[in-house]
């Protein structure tokens, strides 16, 4: 383990407290604030799932993939096709094979199926890709994202092509999003800070020395990639059932850049960093988006500044890169209690 473990009962109490807090917020929030804020929080939860799961491969294992959103897309379409009501399938997807058209899955099994499909796809795609390192793996995984996009556009029997895929039941409520976020963060933290997950960091730090202590690089990288893809699929399903209607363009380069910047700003080798990155970027861009429309504060009148939020986010990204190149959290975690384990202390980057 890295560092002293929090004693078991103390860890469980902290974890329980966090769960209760999450549950309380989940139940109370819709009554306290307006619909807009609830929607922002739901998207934030989904983004946390996606960014944290991307961090497992990109940060902990050091294999910088740009293909994560490809799995998000596969997850959204997989669960969308599975959970579309049968009548809708006949109307929207008349060419869907009979075995898919004749049934409709509830939200939870559809989401888990989306995760499993993505994990299986990651095993197949990762077998050649995870042999690459550095820029090569980034470019190759970007290629994967492009291929997914092209396939989705052309597999119109299943996806309606570039047209909007609509009619997905709007089932991603706040409790679902929060629940999946808690599950994702718990699972990722347990993996990352286990002996199994230590191998991710070992392989990242020095692949040659890793082999000298008996690690085979490919299986280690591949397992991080597969676990990450599973949760990308889950997040994709949640996103699909939040939007209700989407197209291949919803899961492409702009979304990739958004998630990557959240991860990089938050800190790549840290689960709490991923959360922080999502919260920071979301809050900033939501505030700025409202400012963009212009503001009248009686004395001061701020004219509409369209595009300001993008510029500020870009600047934020640049500033973090200059002053904290390993992100706000680097590879440390905020609260040892939350994840039951503590990282080495007392050093700086």
């Amino acid at each position: 383990m890295s560092g002293p473990a929090l004693s078991r009962p103390a860890g469980l109490i902290v974890f329980g407290a966090v769960l209760i807090l999450v549950a309380a917020v989940t139940l109370a929030l819709p009554h306290m604030v307006n619909n807009y804020l609830v929607r922002v929080v739901i998207v934030m939860c989904i983004d946390v799932i996606l960014v944290a799961s991307m961090g497992l491969g990109n940060g902990f294992t050091g294999v910088f993939s740009l293909g994560h959103v490809g799995f998000v897309a596969v997850g959204a379409y997989t669960s969308g096709i599975l959970s579309l009501p049968v009548t809708m399938k006949h109307a929207f997807l008349p060419d869907l094979p009979h075995w898919l058209a004749s049934f409709s899955l509830p939200f939870l099994p559809a989401t888990i199926a989306a995760g499993l499909v993505c994990a299986a796809l990651a095993a197949v795609v990762g077998a050649p890709l995870m042999r690459l390192s550095g820029y090569f793996v980034s470019v190759a995984t970007l290629g994967f994202l492009i291929i997914v996009n092209v396939v989705l556009i052309n597999a119109s029997d299943f996806t309606r092509g570039a047209r909007t895929f609509a009619g997905v039941p709007l089932q991603t409520t706040l409790p679902w999003a929060m629940g999946w976020m808690v599950v994702t963060l718990t699972v990722l933290a347990r993996i990352a800070y286990s002996p199994f997950g230590r191998r991710f960091r070992v392989v990242r730090e020095d692949p040659i020395a890793a082999r000298a202590v008996g690690l085979s690089i490919l299986p280690v990288r591949l397992s991080a990639f597969i676990v990450g893809a599973f949760f990308a699929g889950v997040g994709g399903s949640l996103y699909g059932h939040y939007l209700g209607a989407f197209s291949p363009a919803s899961f492409y380069l702009p979304y990739t850049f958004a998630l990557v910047s959240m991860l990089v700003i938050g800190g790549m080798g840290s689960i709490s960093g991923a959360v922080l990155g999502v919260v920071l970027v979301t809050v900033t861009s939501e505030v700025l988006r409202n400012l963009e429309r212009g503001l009248d504060l009686g004395v001061i009148h701020i004219p509409p500044l369209y595009g300001a939020s993008q510029i500020v986010l870009g600047m934020m990204f640049i500033l973090v890169m200059i002053f904290r190149p390993s992100g706000l959290m680097g590879d440390r975690e905020v609260s040892p209690g939350l994840f039951l384990r503590r990282k080495p202390t007392g050093e700086r980057e």
């Binding site: 008996g214 690690l215 590879d331």
Partner: protein, 258 residues
């Protein structure tokens, strides 16, 4: 697994070229259990190449490598360490951002692997595995006096400690043969003396055979029972420290370039 008869390591006709450069040519060596053997030679004479071949980081063009009686050529590096050959690298190769203790744990878990299910669910097997890893780690950290700094990042250690950490990381894999590539490089006389004591202690405590590549003649002459001299990839002489020192051709080869 490991047969007790015969030499622990034996190479025959070991040859490796990089394009037109013959880095190691028709080399052979025999190392018995518990023996300390030195390999010396001028820069570029093929010493590290020899280590890379035995430890599976390079594949020979021709020749045989037998470990505990079994051929190991063509086995990948991560399998060879499992068989019981551990190594350090010329210069250091630590897991820099990881803690000192995690560097050792990463190696100690070689014989205590737990998988994804254990990571998620915990359980008795994982607890026992972790306890065994902790035991090895504590013992080895204590051996080199790094216990107090075990939570520091490896990159924050002073140079000498980094070298020692790399040695105990290799030991944590429970080898029967340890390959040390220039362990004293960059150390002053007093640090080298400490290192000499350490190598001597670990070989008896863990019943190790050791091959040392080193330019520091004091260390080599004091420690090794047998020394092989390489020049331009070929073995030019092999004998006891006294024989090596007395051999005029060896002195010329070695001192002439080194």
């Amino acid at each position: 697994m490991v047969s007790d008869a015969g030499p622990l390591l034996e190479t025959r006709g070991l040859t490796k070229s990089f394009r037109s450069l013959v880095a190691l040519s028709d080399q052979s060596i025999r190392v018995d259990r518990g023996e300390i053997v030195g390999v010396i030679g001028p820069n570029g004479s093929g010493k590290s190449t020899f280590f890379n071949l035995i430890s599976g980081f390079l594949q020979p063009d021709s020749g045989e490598i037998r470990f505990a009686g079994a051929p190991i050529v063509a086995q990948p590096a991560d399998r060879i360490v499992r068989l019981g050959i551990a190594r350090t690298f010329q210069g250091t190769r630590l897991f820099q951002a990881l803690s000192v203790a995690d560097n050792v744990r990463a190696a100690a878990e070689l014989r205590q692997r737990t998988g994804l299910a254990a990571a998620l669910l915990g359980g008795g097997r994982r607890r026992r595995a972790e306890a065994a890893v902790e035991e090895i780690t504590e013992e080895l950290l204590d051996l080199v006096g790094l216990t107090a700094r075990q939570e520091n990042r490896a990159r924050d250690l002073p140079y000498g400690d980094q070298r020692r950490l790399e040695i105990i990381r290799a030991l944590a894999t429970r080898p029967s043969l340890l390959l040390l590539d220039e362990p004293a490089a960059g150390m002053d006389a007093s640090e080298t003396k400490v290192l000499l004591g350490l190598i001597d202690e670990i070989r008896t405590r863990y019943d190790l055979a050791v091959i040392i590549v080193e330019h520091d003649m004091d260390l080599i002459m004091n420690l090794c029972e047998r020394i092989q001299v390489l020049a331009h990839g070929s073995k030019v002489f092999e004998g006891t420290p006294a024989e090596v020192q007395a051999h005029p051709a060896v002195r010329e080869v070695y001192l002439g370039h080194g």
